[in-house]
């Protein structure tokens, strides 16, 4: 199992540590030439979506990544990664990959004082610890999108075929079940 972890900015090391624990091999992607060869999946980590989106675009990585995702490569976006995947951002003009049929809202919980932890169900997984850091939410999801988690009525995790996105950060907890779920997607490809 070989997973490409985008390492442009943000908490990518935390994802690599979880994947290492689960026995997956990782490769950090910083420039276009890093994203060559074959991968079983891609992770778009948390951080600032404005920064990551800009670096993806300037580095000429947006197109090849979009093509790979449209070609069926499993992708897991957390927080900023979820924003990069969305077709529309309700409070921002930008669209980055735009492959996921969903409208997201950035910083939906406000500033850092609105950041919080909770425990909720994630699809088949019960009682998962969820960390929200200036997190987004899904305002709407399109057809073919399966809702995996809701917190206080808001959609905070969803899957559309080969695309998985969470508004929270499983990589900041000791619980590896959401990453195992994603590796399951990568394996079943």
């Amino acid at each position: 199992m070989r997973i490409a972890v985008f390492a442009l900015q943000g908490a990518f090391i935390e994802h690599e540590q979880v994947l290492a624990k689960l026995g997956a091999e990782t490769r950090e992607i910083r420039k276009r030439s890093d994203f060559s060869g074959s991968f079983d999946g891609v992770i778009l980590p948390g951080g600032e979506s404005t920064v990551q989106g800009k670096l993806l675009r300037e580095g000429g990585m947006l197109e090849p990544l979009r093509e790979a995702i449209e070609g069926g490569l499993p992708v897991f976006g957390t927080c900023a990664g979820m924003i990069l995947l969305a077709e529309k951002i309700s409070n921002d003009e930008s669209v980055y990959l735009g492959t996921m049929s969903a409208v997201v809202r950035r910083n939906a919980y406000g500033r850092q004082l609105g950041s919080f932890r909770t425990r909720e169900t994630f699809g088949p997984i019960d009682d998962f610890p969820m960390v929200f850091i200036r997190g987004p939410i899904f305002e709407q999801v399109g057809e073919g999108v399966e809702v995996l988690s809701r917190v206080d009525g808001n959609i905070v995790a969803a899957r559309q075929g080969n695309m998985l996105a969470t508004a929270f950060h499983p990589e900041l907890t000791e619980d590896t079940r959401v990453h195992e779920y994603f590796l399951g997607m990568a394996e079943g490809r």
Binding site: L8, E14, K54, L55, C79, R111, Q112, I133, R134
Partner: protein, 292 residues
């Protein structure tokens, strides 16, 4: 919410800033330029360190109205500075819901003995440090992010380099110690034992560690990253230079591609005037000496 949980969330926000550049800005327009150029956060202040240095006199927290103007201009996290030990300035910054408070030696210290008890706040704090002892003392007081002090407003990276090397060599030394030597080490560093134990076990600080002070070029930023910084603050280096937007973009790229000399070479081309800078020996006031 429990205090410990808040501390974890605040450490987590710093983790999201890693691999990024935090830029000093003095107006909403500069904040927008910084965001557009790829800043992962901005530091809102009335005067950048180089101008504080030039103006002299007592330097205080910025006008909350001015900070709010910057806060409302961008979608990325916004930080602001309060004076060392000035817990009321910190209360004010918390009241206007700033994302991170920098208890900063760049401003005139309000207390020559005590730092702010940062455990009393919900908003996170970043503090400067020159060595491991200072870093762990600040963390013990509740800071959820550390940066080197460097020497702000000089465009001279020498002190940031010295502080980062010092911290990392002390960490390596701690890692190599026997368990029974850690108690004495905690005493020498004047820090809580648990923090010493953490560094011994993990080989790093328990919070994110950025570089700050005197970073003026893409090469400076990459140097700090190669020395082990997890991201950089750029203060005067951007808006005191000839072409701020271009330089800001180049520094952002340099932090991502810090170990690729070919990319760094092309980023360093044609950036216009860098800030003029002052050498360490020419400085009358060493801000890094404030607050130990």
């Amino acid at each position: 919410m429990q205090r410990n949980e808040r501390f974890e969330l605040n450490k987590n926000l710093a983790q999201m800033l890693k691999g990024g550049v935090i830029m000093d800005v003095t107006t909403p327009e500069q904040a927008r330029i910084a965001e557009r150029a790829g800043a992962c956060a901005v530091m809102a202040l009335e005067r950048i360190p180089a101008d504080i240095r030039a103006a002299g006199g007592v330097s205080r927290m910025s006008d909350p109205k001015m900070i709010k103007g910057i806060r409302d201009a961008v979608s990325i996290p916004v930080m602001a500075k309060c004076r060392i030990g000035h817990f009321v300035e910190a209360q004010i910054l918390e009241a206007i819901e700033i994302d991170y408070i920098d208890e900063s030696e760049v401003l005139s210290p309000a207390d020559d003995k005590f730092h702010i008890d940062k455990t009393q706040f919900s908003v996170p704090f970043v503090c400067g440090a020159r060595d491991l002892g200072e870093a762990l003392r600040r963390i013990g007081e509740g800071a959820s992010m550390i940066r080197t002090k460097g020497e702000p407003g000089t465009g001279d990276v020498v002190q940031a380099v010295r502080h980062m090397r010092m911290m990392n060599s002390q960490i390596r030394e701690l890692v190599s110690m026997r368990e029974d030597e850690l108690y004495e080490q905690a005493k020498e560093l004047r820090v809580p034992f648990e923090l010493v134990q953490f560094v011994h076990d993990h080989g790093k600080l328990p919070v994110v560690n950025f570089a700050a002070g005197g970073i003026a070029t893409p090469a400076d930023a990459a140097l700090m990253m190669q020395l082990g910084a997890e991201g950089v603050f750029v203060g005067s280096g951007i808006f005191k230079s000839g072409d701020p937007e271009k330089r800001a973009r180049a520094i952002v790229q340099a932090v991502t591609n810090y170990d690729d000399p070919h990319i760094l070479a092309s980023l360093s081309e044609d950036l216009g005037e860098a800030m003029v800078g002052i050498n360490e020996q020419e400085i009358a006031l060493l801000m890094a000496e404030r607050g130990k």
